[in-house]
Amino acid sequence: MNVKRTWKTVESGPRDYQEALHPVVKKNYGKWKYHELPKPGILKHVAESGDTLFTVRAGTPRQDSVDLIRRLCDIADKYADGYLRFTVRNNVEFMTPDEENVELMVKELEAIGLPVGGVGPCVSSVAHTQGWLHCDIPATDGSGVVKSIMDSLYDDFKNWQMPSKVRLSTSCCAINCGGQADIAIVVKHTRPPRVNHEIIANTCELPKAVACCPVAAIRPTVVNNKQSVMVDHKKCMYCGACFGACPAIEINHPEHSKIGVWVGGKNSNARSKPSLGSLVAHNLPNNPPRWPEVNEVIRKILTAFKKEGRPWERLGEWIDRVGWKHFFEETDLIFEKDMIDSYRHARTTFNQSAHVRF
């Protein structure tokens, strides 16, 4: 790096938010009274002062070009006083005190290809990870899966057809950077990792590779007179922790890295406590560019939920009410032995009662 430096780094941490707030937000900061959802994609917030603020929310591809971002800025400059924000789900939001701006913005957003929606009882954008585009350990592509799914759920994003909020996530490896969600789509490996003994002999501290495995399946060994490691196939449960930790270990496989679907994850504390998702489909092929098998499973789940869920009832709460047996029947998915927990606190998930539905 031989560029001449003209600027001394300022370790400022998070960007200051004062200059980023819309004036109506600033004025009524902490003094909001209530909100309404006038129609899909639109929020209306009313402040104690009587001020009203409309929000228009739209979906984005998340992997944005500066071109798209500039277009968003154009819209914000035109209708939202030069401010905009993003949600934790990659949606963009424009706020305005002027009701007439709302429809104009909706039009312009749709014109540049961004659907307005994601507010209220609908499917919002998918929590989203890197995949083949950028990550160093992905078995599939985050953005591609999301695009394929959201094409199918386009109407469910734009309209109120769901009993309540439906939140999705995708993750391109078993680590699940996408997080718990009503429906989570996550890579599931089905074979133990392979060791490249050449690389390990050259680059790796052996203890690290050995220490990273939660079930002690990695053991030091000697290959061609060189120190290396081996994977005990009996113990390994295909978690992939070693893969991220050691460059000589590879677990991804074009055929054997499959996709699993998990339902009933919930982060909010509304009504029921937050809960982890449960595995309901696995062994789905990793099938780019459109992942039809995954899409089909999601369709089945959401069709059943749409039909039976009650207002304010989240997907997992619906299943709690009707029972897992009914869920599998209604969605046409198949409960398999592997879906019985076998990991650390497995016993606490068993049916330790005579309660049973027939």
Binding site: E11, G13, P61, R62, I69, W312
Partner: protein, 412 residues
């Protein structure tokens, strides 16, 4: 359509192609169909306009990934001066095949809390990024960063200096304090029980040193939600979750309650509000709604359904939860409540809170193993030991139920 026509079609396509900067990406092109905004269309447009070879390389590699169902990036170490993290290094594994994908490093940049922008801030960022980098930006990463994706190592310092000068700083990576996430909170939400933006700002500013220079056992994430709706997903996705709530009674506007009932009907009140309260703290008395606030667990449900009629109480603060994480190695863990109520009004409250966070992080760094999240440390060492170590009071709020086995060492 006969064969000759088809040939013509093909020729036409390939001659169109000739005019294009990008190589053919037939599989990726399928992601341009359908109504949802396509990231492929975006990248193609950007590439065709800017003609940046890096973008062509990235598209070629991505197409190759789609065809072979494997990823081809490898990590490495790329840094800006003085920092130990904040840049994610990516180099292709198949440089011989796709030399243009040689480098594709990413800046993690900390946005303003709750992801607010002025167009000026954003436009400037776009301009700088187009100048030095690929022009591709992720808004936002799951940990809340702006991700400026795609730059060569040689341009990194200069680019960083430029954005830093404009007021931006890098986010976390590696065994470090990570970028925080906060919900929109008081900026636009009537449920906010504390100032999520301010607390996020103050806390992350305080820990800036630890964001930039990884010196922890593993990553540590803060998330800030203004109320138990937890729009920042803190419970399973942060090491320390700060969730707003109130200690007194839900505020009820009786006129608005009656209005609501008139509009929605008593049936809806019973079915959608009363029957959904997790602790059955709401009852119908002489046609009116009565809340037993001692029994309310602050779940937010009734407030969500009746936002005009019900609001959080006046005595507001936060509850502090520790130890969430996702699945890797031990399975997902939810944050556990360790401080049921913490006042968060004055600046001194924030100071005290930061002190608490420091002692929590210190305890972890003293008691944890390498690559162990704090939730794992607490599970291994014990919640009681954690509380004692940090100097917190135990309370029954911290458990779903007291222990069912006698296997503990009593102090007496």
């Amino acid at each position: 359509m006969d064969e000759i026509d088809m040939d013509n079609e093909d020729e036409k396509k390939s001659s169109d192609q000739d005019k294009k900067f990008l190589n053919p990406t037939p599989m990726l092109d399928e992601l341009e169909e359908g109504p949802w905004p396509s990231f492929i269309t975006g990248i193609k447009e950007l590439a065709e306009r800017t003609k940046k070879p890096m973008l062509r390389g990235v598209m070629d590699q991505l197409e190759y990934s789609y065809q072979t169902r494997m990823g081809y990036w490898k990590g490495g170490l790329v840094m800006v001066r003085g920092y130990g993290s904040g840049v994610i290094s990516r180099r292709t594994m198949i440089k011989d095949k796709i030399p243009e994908a040689a480098e594709f490093h990413t800046f993690r940049v900390q946005p303003a809390p709750a992801l607010h922008y002025s167009t000026k801030m954003l436009r400037d960022l776009c301009d700088t990024w187009e100048k030095y980098g690929s022009g591709l930006i992720t808004l936002h990463g799951q940990t809340g960063d702006i991700m400026l994706q795609g730059i060569e190592e040689s341009k990194i310092q200069e680019c960083f200096d430029a954005i830093n000068q404009a007021g931006w700083d890098l986010g976390g990576a590696g065994p470090a304090m990570r970028t925080g996430v906060s919900c929109v909170g008081p900026a636009r939400c009537e449920n906010a029980c504390y100032d999520t933006l301010k607390l996020h700002y103050r806390v992350l500013k305080y820990f800036t040193e630890d964001v930039h220079r990884p010196q922890y056992l593993y990553k540590f994430k803060f998330k800030f939600s203004g109320c138990p709706n937890d729009c920042s997903n803190s419970i399973f996705r942060s090491d320390l979750a700060v969730i707003g709530l109130w200690r007194d009674s839900i505020q009820m506007d009786s006129t608005e309650v009656l209005d609501w009932i008139e509009k929605n009907g008593t049936d809806s009140l019973v079915n959608n509000v009363i029957n959904r309260c997790p602790t059955r703290a709401i009852s119908l008395e002489h046609g009116e709604m009565v809340i037993d606030n001692k029994n309310c667990v602050r779940c937010m449900h009734c407030l969500n359904v009746m936002p005009r009629a019900l609001s959080p109480g006046r005595e507001r603060g936060v509850t502090v939860l520790v130890g969430g994480k996702n699945i890797l190695k031990v399975g997902a863990m939810g944050c556990t409540m360790v401080v049921p109520f913490f006042k968060m009004d004055a600046d001194e409250d924030v100071d005290k809170f930061i002190e608490l966070c420091e002692s929590i992080i210190d305890w972890w760094n003293d008691n944890g193993f390498e690559k162990e999240r704090i939730g794992e440390t607490i599970e291994r060492v014990g919640l009681k030991q954690f509380l004692t170590g940090v100097g917190l009071e135990a309370s029954v709020d911290m458990v779903a139920k007291p222990r069912s086995n006698p296997y503990y060492k009593s102090k007496y």
